[in-house]
Symmetry: C2
Subunit: 363 residues, 2 copies
């Protein structure tokens, strides 16, 4: 038995925001949630503001979302949205603002202890939300997940709820074409990680596998661009679509240990999320290929590489000179092994195994 | 630019209804909409009744939906639902009950002239609906379309509205495994027609093409079964999933002239919908291959045949000894050329062309 759900409307193409105003405007008064710079720099904030002004929609810009948003920032955003009295939100940015928007949509209409969000303890339906990704990686625009940072537990924690799926997502390569190459790489590798973890973990199904392969085929076409740069708007729109497919996949399958082990790298070392995944992804696939050799081959064939080539590709795209100590890795493995997504890992994994993976990848 | 939307949750597998009661029960009081026999014979009605009884949900069975439901039957169903005071509907059956359920969901909460449904002239959100297909063909469970028969215009007419997507669909091969072989064939060929029309018409997009290919691959695995029978529950569940993928595809692309030309065969000659499509599908693909040779080849490769083999397969699966007159075909072509989906046909098509297609396929 398998289940499939991904209710977000996706509108993909150049100028999709400006040409689909009626689908962007989900209410009468709007709060835009974005990062400190990503919304403005990408051009997306300007396009959205134009559309809202042309349609006489009152709006407020909440641009306080930093990397790896904390639950406190989101609760604060919810309070501001409530005080402003808006009835819909537009999230603009990478995974951080897009995940934060989901939490803010909950807090704006539910007067709860912020931590209750993780148990889905809220009664009122979250505000409707629209997504405009400015990186091609997170897939947050097509998932019911929001990953928040909790200093209380020195880690990230996710919540999932079908009511926080975005109502609509606009994918436009104009917003990602000027990203620095390393950000384009990190985020594309985050998407790859979603596609590969989703394709191989124990929740993979006929409803997610063919979608994962399509995402892998698309990103595989742009390996040279990811190595060398030279993007254009069409390529960037394709990569946004592939990243959204990654979101569709993990909406069905979740992620597995690459993600849960990667969180510590981001929390303690400030390594960008996609890079953190990418540093662990080769070893994950290596171990997965021992239990699912055919499936790993099918995935890598779709991408257009064998396992060694794939590991070399990751290495080339993820230059990282950060030093790690065995003590750190030991501590992180103790936390990571408790993650909810460990049981869906395709191979047996203990704390010692996770430590071993950390060591192989990082020392 | 392309758009993608398919918000229905699909639950696919043996005993999916009984094992997912909380997802079937969308309210406090239910009307079940089904055909005169399909609901009971398939076993689906019994399963649904058991679940509703176990959960103390009051329900009424409206089993007056015949083949090719009329707008009058649906309006009547809406009145009964309203009088009964139900707050959700469960549609069980082939395309006829599943399409009718969508219209009834509108009429139950909107006191309108029944014909206004075609212009989307209704203010209140239709009742939430759950689908249980008992044939693997229509894909109605994953589309926003409802095709109704209008004696006023001697033809079928469809309406489309995002609010009539099913909330949830349950796919279980137990409900289709005992279908007569010819019905299994007709309905599978209806699904094939959705996949092939959607893959080749002018609204095809990167969001629909890879889904169409997956559906074609799945049905292609069961060519021998469609020729000779010998289905089992797993095969039937796979075919239901492929048919749902066909629905996902045409939700993005619509259908084209195979469908609009086929309606007359059903209306005037009582030829089952899938068979009507199938009689025209080979010639459609032949003509499409002249303008999109690569695309037709990719589609047929996914299915596992070349064009001649595909035409022979259709012929073998669709024995039809009904006689047609040139006069009839001329009249039908005059109606069919006015259909809304003619402009998306991949090749230029005039009334004379449609008459020529009818003649080649039917005389």
């Amino acid at each position: 038995m398998f289940k499939y759900l991904m209710p977000t409307k996706v509108i993909c193409g150049e100028n999709s925001v400006k040409e689909n105003a009626s689908e962007l405007i989900l209410g009468a008064k709007c709060m835009i949630v974005t990062g400190t710079t990503s919304g403005a720099k990408s051009g997306a904030l300007g396009d959205v503001a134009d559309v809202l002004k042309e349609n006489n929609i009152e709006y407020l810009v909440y641009d306080k979302i930093g990397n790896n948003p904390t639950i406190e920032e989101c609760a604060e955003g919810g309070k501001i949205a409530k005080d402003f009295g808006c009835d819909f939100l537009i999230g603009i940015g990478g995974g951080s603002p897009l995940d934060a928007t989901k939490a803010i949509a909950v807090y704006a209409v539910n007067d709860i202890d912020p931590y209750d969000i993780f148990e889905g303890k809220f009664d009122n339906k979250p505000l409707p939300i629209a997504a405009i990704p400015t990186t091609a990686g997170t897939g947050s625009e097509t998932t019911p997940y929001s990953i928040l940072t909790l200093h209380k537990i020195n880690n990230k924690q996710s919540f999932a709820h079908p009511d926080v799926f975005y109502r609509v997502a606009f994918l436009d390569g104009r917003y990602t074409v000027n990203l620095p190459l390393q950000i384009a790489r990190n985020t594309a590798i985050d998407a790859l990680s979603h596609l590969l973890e989703g394709f191989t973990d124990k929740k993979a199904s006929p409803a997610s596998d063919y979608i994962a392969l399509e995402g892998l085929r698309i990103i595989g076409r742009y390996v040279d661009n990811l190595k060398n740069g030279n993007f254009n708007i069409d390529i960037c729109t394709d990569l946004l679509w592939a990243a959204s497919l990654g979101g569709v996949v993990i909406s069905q399958t979740g992620t597995t240990i690459v993600h849960s082990m990667g969180y510590a790298l981001t929390y303690y070392k400030d390594i960008p999320h996609g890079m953190a995944n990418g540093l662990l992804l080769g070893e994950y696939l290596e171990r997965t290929s021992r239990v699912l050799p055919d499936k790993v081959k099918v995935a890598l064939d779709a991408f257009g590489m064998d396992l060694d080539e794939f590991k070399a590709f990751l290495k080339e795209c993820l230059p990282c000179d950060i030093k790690f100590s065995e003590e750190e890795l030991t501590k992180w493995s103790e936390t990571a092994i408790k993650a909810k997504n460990v049981p869906v890992c395709p191979f047996e994994v203990t704390r010692e195994d996770e430590l071993d993976i950390y060591k192989k990848c990082l020392l």
